[in-house]
């Protein structure tokens, strides 16, 4: 793995930069937020060593998957591989042959995008009402929403399947999309955010100007909600993309999402683990790309949720 030298390099560079800054100003800056140790001092290499090990642990399984996926299926019986082999494309081709990979990819994209969009829309609407509008029963309805966050709705699979079968939707993407359209978490999240982020005066101002409620929502509520909405969209997208249990039950092998297709790959190639792991790598790449682009938002979303929740 090449990450450790890279980290050391960047840490070194940053250290050099900080050192130069310190030398220039002559004195470390005062009045900054203090570290828990009560000092401003930078942690030692032990801290970075520990974090490096954690990072290695979180990346290693993916690296291993690529390593094995780039050899043929006898590689592990010949000892532990240290370098990637040249077989990845051949294995990838076999993955494409044995499961409807592109279809699964398109399905995952459709399901995750539609679900994320719907959850954000409905959650922002409800959140706007709960946070900013006065109506009878709002307190109890919000308590109800919070209570339902803890309800394991996944356990309703049997009747859900019966209903989908009655409607003739088993095997279609609708069966996966419809139950995901709303989440109690989303409503709670948007309510909490809009409470602080949207001043009441702003709504009153546009109302006095004669705007209807829906216009107030559209022109004031939605723009104020944008940062939280982006995070909610990101979360819902990842959660829907990685979801397995219900799609596995209701979708056909000919029309799967990516996790369902991966399970099919395992069933078809359980001896040929290099093909299976090549498939695991291929299926992870799209979300890794999303993570590289938006991982920063994901991190701050989790941390904000923790403080507010």
């Amino acid at each position: 793995m090449s990450s450790i030298p890279m980290i050391q390099q960047t840490a070194g560079k940053a250290a050099a930069r900080a050192a130069a800054k310190k030398a220039g100003s002559g004195k470390p800056p005062q009045r900054r937020r203090r570290a828990p140790g009560g000092t401003m001092r930078r942690p030692g290499f032990l801290t970075y060593g520990f974090l490096g090990a954690v990072l290695l642990g979180s990346l290693f399984p993916l690296w291993w998957s690529f390593l094995v996926g780039s050899h043929d299926s006898t590689v592990l019986s010949r000892g532990v591989p240290l370098l990637p082999g040249g077989n990845f494309l051949a294995n990838a081709a076999q993955v494409l042959d044995s499961i409807p990979f592109w279809k699964a990819l398109a399905n995952s994209l459709i399901v995750s995008t539609v679900t994320a969009f719907a959850v954000v829309l409905f959650s922002t609407l409800a959140g706007f009402a709960f946070a900013k509008l006065r109506f009878k029963g709002s307190r109890w309805l919000l308590v109800f929403v919070i209570a339902t966050m803890a309800v394991p709705t996944q356990l309703g699979v049997v009747p859900l399947f019966i209903v989908m079968a009655k409607l003739g939707w088993t095997g279609s993407l609708w069966a996966v999309i419809i139950p995901g359209l709303v989440t109690a978490f989303g409503v709670f999240w948007m309510t909490q955010y809009l409470k602080d982020a949207l001043p009441d005066e702003l709504i009153e101002a546009v109302r006095v100007d004669g705007a209807s409620m829906i216009r107030a929502f559209w022109h004031v509520g939605l723009p104020a909600a944008r940062p939280a909405a982006a995070m909610l969209a990101l979360f819902t997208f990842v959660a829907t993309w990685t979801n397995f249990f219900w799609p596995f039950i209701v979708l056909d092998p000919s029309n799967p999402t990516l996790p369902v297709a991966l399970q099919l790959l395992q069933a078809a190639h359980f001896v040929d683990y290099s093909v299976v792991l090549a498939g695991a790598v291929l299926s992870t790449i799209p979300l890794l790309v999303v993570f590289i682009v938006a991982g920063r938002q994901l991190v701050s979303g989790i941390m904000q949720g923790a403080v507010k929740g």
Partner: protein
């Protein structure tokens, strides 16, 4: 908006004829309805969809569990508690219940300890903060099924990397796929891999919300960093720990994905060594096509989760009250 502005500007010039008065009265009425009913309109998509796709199926599970109900034949005769009696007499049910709890404990306890440790390290005055925070979150975007397939290979009984490592250290290889408890360790490792970083970020956020003067006071009192961690950080994190425990209980007791792909047959091993309750629901419902029995297990698991959540709630409230009295 522009339209109403124009109306208001013009109003003082013209004497109010009866037509415009009517129009204003109507618009007032519309506006009052707007204020009164809009909130209900905005929250209704959530409540309607949640009732139809979330609550109704859950409630209907209880109804199905009281009938002979087949995947192919559909609803049969009312059978009372027969399905429950059958399921509770099955050794596989109790086995799955035990496995679920075992995997849950093995995944949640080390997970929380590891997550708090990592969070404490991330809370230091690091360079490239965002880089490290993102780094620990990478496993979160790997689907549980992919995690399961990868770790299934790492934990392979033959030629698995972990067994190779144990052999290199002069230890005996472990039969991850045949012994019950060690298979739980392997599956719990997958869960931990995916969630430790996520929970570490939650704890990190909670740590940063602790007022810094508490630490200053502790430093003045002569407490070292380790002492501060155990006497200040950990007690202040208690609400967050409870939050994480509750959410991971609800998710952890429904574990399916990782255990499902731990072998290619998906039933939890030859002797169901790692079959969880959710896997058992799947086996009854879609393997044996008996929806009545599957529903009985689903309903039992639901009651179990509610029971544990309530227990958690009351313990939490008790702790909170004690804190308040002090």
């Amino acid at each position: 908006m522009a339209v109403t502005d124009r109306v208001r500007q013009r109003a003082p010039e013209n004497p109010p004829d009866s037509k415009s008065v009517k129009r204003i009265a109507l618009s007032h009425k519309v506006s009052r309805w707007d204020v009164k009913f809009s909130p209900y309109l905005y929250i209704s998509p959530f409540f309607l969809l949640f009732a139809v796709t979330g609550l109704f199926p859950l409630g209907y599970t209880a109804w199905v569990s009281l009938h002979n109900w087949n995947l192919i034949g559909g609803q049969g005769d009312f059978s009372g508690l027969e399905n429950y009696a059958f399921v509770l007499s099955q050794p596989f049910f109790w086995n799955a219940l035990g496995n679920t709890f075992s995997i849950f404990v093995l995944s949640s306890v080390p997970q929380i300890i590891l997550a708090i440790t990592i969070a404490a390290v991330l809370d230091a005055n690091l360079r490239a903060k965002t880089f490290w925070r993102m780094g620990v979150l990478v496993p979160f975007v790997v689907a549980p099924v992919a995690v399961g397939l990868i770790f299934n290979n790492l934990f392979a009984d033959q030629f698995g990397l972990i067994n190779e490592g144990l052999t290199a250290l002069g230890l005996d290889p472990v039969r991850w796929h045949s012994d019950s408890t060690v298979s739980h360790v392997a599956i719990a490792t997958m869960v931990n891999f995916r969630w430790v970083g996520y929970n570490a970020l939650i704890f990190l956020a909670a740590m940063q919300a602790i007022p810094r003067d508490v630490y200053e006071a502790a430093t003045i009192d002569g407490a070292g960093r380790l002492r501060q961690f155990f006497s200040v950080t950990v007690p202040m994190l208690r609400p967050t720990v409870i939050f994480v425990v509750i959410t991971s209980t609800i998710g952890g007791l429904q574990i399916f994905d990782e255990a499902r792909v731990f072998d290619q047959y998906g039933l939890g091993g030859a002797d169901r060594q790692w079959q969880t309750l959710t896997m058992y629901i799947w086996e009854l419902g879609w393997g044996q096509r008996n929806f009545g029995r599957a529903s009985a297990v689903a309903w039992l698991l639901f009651l179990l989760i509610v029971l544990i959540a309530l227990l958690n709630f009351f313990i939490t409230r008790r702790i909170a009250n004690q804190g308040g009295r002090k």
